[in-house]
């Protein structure tokens, strides 16, 4: 029979069971969700898309490991969040970016934006977007030279040395050169110029749907974001027909990548569903405003970073209604 006197028991607070989801499993889901877009990038831009992503991931993981090591903090690379940041940073860079440059970007993302503020969950702007913003400000030329996947098809496998560059759809939209735009099916599939992982709307939609199905993200942020951009561009077209203008704006400029993978970043988005709706609408508003009135062609990156700064404010004003307090009670209390 059991020797009850010599049981080695631990006594901790309830609950004594936990769900199966972990930070690591969530990050793994995000990595899986990014894979269709990565595969398409390899098809569109050549093998270099993969090597750029790999270098970026290795860089980000290395910076995270190094910082935690030097600061004698518990090692955190196992949660895979640095892998996600690395992939996203590569996804918002042109495929022609020099390898050393993406390592610099990773340094900014991981150390400056994430670790110095306390690591995972504590950064106040999206690390990948902030890394890209810093690279864009520092190396504007390199960060805005886009190769044309269609005219470069043959040369793409391997090297991008003599690639033909072209304008992104967003630049063409800005200048009103509607006739030079790629066809809408190409926009949807992604055979267009642009950042490495932003071009294929369908691959990103697939990944986003996977994340919503796995309950990693809520639908509120991406749907509110995309719907806001769609409604505003439909109502106020600059060139072409309403529908045409709206579709180019929705499918181009990294909106899908931003809406599903950047604006939904846990650390930098509101915690309630109501807050996420407001956040999504705000992102959409700023995106359209930057595209219409700003000097940049596309506004996804900056609109999300701006909205990141509103998160604390949104959280403060979207607290769930207190249990047991109905609206009429509140009014009565106010009247008193």
């Amino acid at each position: 029979m059991t020797d009850y006197k010599n049981l080695k028991l631990i006594a901790t607070s309830s609950p004594h069971i936990r769900g199966n989801e972990t930070t690591r499993s969530i990050m793994l889901d995000v990595i899986i969700a990014l894979c269709p877009a990565l595969l398409f990038a390899c098809f569109n831009f050549g093998f270099r898309a993969l090597t750029v992503t790999a270098v970026s991931v290795i860089g980000c993981v290395f910076w995270e490991w190094l910082y935690r090591k030097l600061m004698k903090k518990p090692q955190s690379v196992g949660d895979l969040s640095a892998v996600v940041t690395g992939m996203l940073l590569a996804f918002v860079s042109p495929v022609t970016i020099p390898y050393w440059m993406i390592l610099v970007g990773g340094f900014f993302s991981i150390i400056l934006v994430k670790q110095l503020f306390g690591g995972i969950g504590c950064n106040f702007v999206n690390p990948a977007l902030a890394g890209r913003a810093i690279l864009l400000a520092s190396y504007a030329g390199t960060m805005t030279s886009w190769i044309d996947p269609i005219s470069n098809k043959a040369a793409l496998i391997g090297s991008n040395a003599d690639a033909v560059t072209t304008a992104t759809p967003m630049a063409l939209l800005k200048s009103g050169a509607m006739e030079s735009l790629p066809s809408l099916p190409n926009m949807f599939v992604g055979s267009i110029a642009g950042s490495l992982g932003e071009v294929s709307a369908i691959a990103l939609l697939l990944g986003g749907a996977y994340l919503i199905w796995r309950k990693v993200i809520n639908w509120q942020t991406p749907v509110a974001y995309i719907a806001t951009v769609a409604v505003l561009t439909f109502l106020f077209p600059r060139y072409g027909t309403n529908v045409e203008w709206m579709l180019y704006n929705v499918l181009g400029g990294g909106l899908m990548l931003g809406a599903f993978f950047m604006a939904t970043d846990y650390a930098t988005s509101p915690v309630t569903k109501k807050g996420q709706l407001i956040f999504g609408v705000g992102c959409g508003l700023f995106t359209v405003m930057i595209r219409y009135f700003g000097s940049y062609n596309e506004g996804v990156c900056y609109s999300i970073m701006v909205m990141n700064l509103f998160v604390a404010l949104i959280d403060k004003h979207t607290k769930p209604a207190r249990f047991g307090v109905v609206k009429s009670d509140k009014k009565e209390a106010a009247a008193k």
């Binding site: 028991l9 631990i10 309830s14 769900g19 969530i26 769930p320 207190r322 047991g324």
Partner: protein
């Protein structure tokens, strides 16, 4: 299907291990340890001393103020009256009875001549004398709930949700003793003067619902069974009221504030036994389960049975058992010894030997918001955790931490494995301490001012 409540989680129910096993009677234990606190309120005063002979059902502990009396659960000699380990942690004055295995019934246990002719006051008195408390684990004295609710309550609810994983005692009671449940519910309807009682049952217990419906039809009882969505914490009193009536209990309030009174399945059975047989609470149905138990079972045993006897009846514990939990896995208390006795609120005794806890070395919040979505009390656990861990007591109060019922849904849902519930228990205690200190300081100041004013008057 009844309306739902907001939030909650859906853990694997783990009930398959015991939900088809009939309630077994435990072989009488050689000794029972009956703690003088098995209810919400001040502990009872022992009425017996070492050497006394007691019989089953004899009153051995009397309550003062809020509480319920305590009765001997076996017959025999009182070995000692001394503090012993009990389920809430630490020691509690307990009456230790050496079983003489005679099962002599005390003369104090008298069945009423005609239970159906009793007045409401007589019935409440019977419930009070039987020492009935909320047997779902809250252990609030039932007679107080009834007498306090009469006139205010229009919805009487029997809680058959049994939403905690592993526990199947209520489910088995529905299958094996439906007439006791329905009988008790009928008496409750009489006491409250309502024309129907609602039994809320999670829809994973369909055969239990059917068994009760059969008895209701036979007896034409004023009882309806309502199937509820399977979601933890469906059996939380406030959530159950919300699911059945659509109304929310106000902050700091009780179900009676919205005209509800909630009773557990086994409390209802105890009410039935008290009114028909005059029988006090001396036995309890306990689900013994978990990965560390060789053969999980539902066992009925005398109150005061050391839990080690329950495990022995289930083939003992497996090698590597690291945790004993009294109650369900979501809200139960981890025990540091197997000597603790079964109390009136003990519904389950679990032993774990696998990695159920899944702790990580350095949990860090990733702000995913899953705790906010899981909280049935509409709180924001992630912010409360920050405040509590930094002792920001004013912010904690503003975040309504006192609304937290420690159901553990947030911690269950947390992918970062933060110790949320643990921190809230700490934070609530800190806040209570502070409020007590402030109250004491205010009173002291008032007293000092009064004394000063008196002096001034005297001086004049």
């Amino acid at each position: 299907m009844a309306q739902a409540f907001f939030g909650g989680v859906h853990p694997h129910d783990m009930k398959a291990a015991t939900n088809e096993k009939a309630i077994e009677q435990l072989a009488p234990p050689a000794e029972v340890v009956i703690p003088m606190s098995m209810h919400f309120g001040a502990p009872c005063t022992p009425l017996v001393k070492a050497g006394d002979h007691v019989k089953v059902g004899q009153k051995i502990g009397e309550f003062r103020g809020l509480g319920a009396p305590i009765h001997a659960s076996v017959s025999g000699k009182v070995k000692v009256v001394e503090p012993r380990p009990y389920s809430m942690g630490g020691n509690m004055m307990s009456v230790v009875i050496e079983n003489d295995f005679q099962d002599e019934l005390s003369e104090e246990v008298q069945a009423p001549a005609n239970p159906d002719a009793l007045t409401v006051d007589e019935m409440v008195e019977l419930v009070k004398n039987a020492g009935i408390v909320g047997m779902g684990g809250a252990t609030f004295p039932t007679h107080v709930k009834i007498s306090g609710g009469i006139g205010k309550v229009d919805t009487v609810i029997i809680n058959g949700a049994e939403c905690e994983p592993y526990i199947t005692g209520d489910h088995r009671t529905m299958l094996e003793r439906p007439e006791e449940i329905i009988g008790g519910a009928t008496y409750l309807a009489k006491m409250f003067g309502v024309d129907r009682v609602i039994i809320g049952v999670e829809d994973n217990k369909q055969n239990g619902i059917d068994a009760m419906n059969k008895v209701i039809a036979e007896k034409k009882a004023p009882v309806v069974v309502e199937a509820l969505r399977c979601r933890y914490p469906q059996g939380g009193e406030k959530q159950l009221c919300q699911a059945i009536t659509g109304k929310q209990v106000p902050p700091g309030g009780l179900p009676s504030n919205i005209g509800c009174a909630v009773f557990n399945i086994n409390t209802t059975c105890a009410i039935y036994r008290a009114i028909t047989q005059g029988m006090p609470v001396v036995r309890k149905i306990v689900t013994v389960s978990g990965s560390g138990v060789v053969e999980p079972k539902n066992i009925e045993c005398p109150i005061g049975t050391p839990v080690s006897c329950l495990f022995d009846a289930c083939g003992g514990l497996k090698e590597g058992t690291y945790k004993l939990v009294m109650g369900g896995p979501m809200m139960g208390m981890a025990q540091y010894t197997a000597d603790v006795p079964v109390g009136k609120g003990t519904g389950a005794m679990l032993a774990f030997c696998e990695n159920e806890e899944q702790t990580v070395a350095h949990p860090q919040c990733i702000r995913c918001g899953k705790c906010v979505a899981a909280c049935p009390m509409h709180l924001e656990p992630l912010f409360m955790y920050q405040y509590a861990s930094r002792d920001m007591l004013d912010e904690l109060n503003d975040a309504h931490i006192m609304d937290c019922m420690e159901c553990g849904a947030c911690a269950y849902a947390c992918p970062a494995r933060m110790h949320l519930t643990h921190m809230f228990k700490y934070g609530k205690q800190k806040l209570k301490d502070k409020q007590m200190a402030e109250k004491a300081a205010a009173e002291a100041k008032k007293a000092a001012e009064a004394a000063k004013a008196e002096k001034e008057v005297a001086a004049k």
